[in-house]
């Protein structure tokens, strides 16, 4: 298994967002204002390689994601209830897609865990998240989206 790279992570995230929800993430134009609160999703893998992928964005972006995935009209009550679920699935599929790019064959692939969710409660927590080495910050439909991977010990 090859080590991850920011380019492959971007490819995996873009493919996942476009296929799931017809959303195209882009580099931000100028500085992104830190959101007052954000969701942070993380997922670990182990086996031939070990590591963790983390993704942070606002719950409102999760609502947009859920609405696009399920083709729901804005304002439908179900959208808010599905926001976190949609973000967890985005994290899960992006991780699988990244790992598939790193492996020459399925036999070479690590096993992926379940996504875990936490909250970045304020702008300072967001700033801390995006200031970590290797974090990629993007804009998707006007919402901030930050993603990073970390290789860990087995």
């Amino acid at each position: 298994m090859r080590p991850p790279s920011p380019e492959l992570l971007l490819e995996a995230l873009a493919e996942t967002l476009q296929t799931m929800a017809f959303i195209c993430p882009e580099p931000p134009v100028g500085d992104i204002a830190p959101p007052p609160a954000a969701e942070c999703l993380s997922i670990r893998w182990s086996g031939p390689g070990a590591g963790k992928l983390q993704l942070a964005t606002t719950r409102t972006f999760g609502e947009l994601l859920a609405a696009n995935i399920l083709a729901l009209e804005p304002g439908t009550p179900e959208i808010a209830a599905r926001s976190l679920d949609a973000l967890q699935e985005l994290c899960n599929i992006t991780t699988g897609s990244l790992l598939a790019r790193l492996c020459d064959s399925p036999d070479d692939a690590p096993q992926v865990g379940l996504p875990a969710a936490s909250v970045l409660p304020d702008a300072a927590a967001w700033q801390h998240f995006v200031s970590q080495s290797g974090t990629i910050v993007l804009e998707a439909e006007g919402y901030p989206l930050a993603v990073r991977y970390e290789e860990t010990a087995q």
Binding site: E15, T16, T19, M20, G47, A66, I69, L70, A71, R82, D85, A86, Q88, E89, N92, I93, T95, G96, S97, L99, A100, C103, S105, P106, D107, D108, A109, P110, Q111, V112, L114
Partner: protein, 132 residues
């Protein structure tokens, strides 16, 4: 005449996504049933005549492999076609799936084309089994 498909995934959003993608692919489906994990799926199978199960791999209570074992161990349910749709890229799991009798595997994210390529042969298989 369409097929009855049981979608098994602990993410309601993913069940909705797969359902919508199958509809976009224009496949002949008469009914979609849903379950959040393998045990719920087995409950659905008690009351409905299902042609095809599309299940996730990682689920609480009962995962996709355990569900496949349970379904194929029951002669009455053995004609049901089972495929896994998962983000999991691991080869050791793919071998386990084949041993469990799973007929197809698709890695998420799936497009209408990839779903069509997975589902059509399984539906033809199911049709042939029903005629035999």
């Amino acid at each position: 005449m369409g097929y009855c498909i049981l979608l098994v995934d602990d993410s309601a959003t993913t069940r909705g996504l797969i359902k919508r993608t199958i509809q976009m692919a224009g496949l002949p489906v008469s009914e979609f049933l849903e379950a959040g994990h393998g045990k719920e799926a087995l409950e659905q199978l008690r009351f409905h005549n299902v042609d095809l199960i599309l299940a996730d791999l990682h689920m609480p209570e009962m995962n996709g492999i355990e569900l496949a074992h349970a379904v194929l161990a029951n002669p009455a349910m053995a004609p049901i076609q089972i495929a896994i749709i998962s983000a999991e890229p691991s080869g050791s799991r793919l071998m386990e799936l084949r041993r469990a009798g799973v007929k197809g595997y698709l890695r998420k994210p799936c497009t209408p084309e990839s779903l069509r390529n997975l589902v059509v042969p399984l539906m033809e298989n199911r049709h042939a089994t029903a005629l035999a």
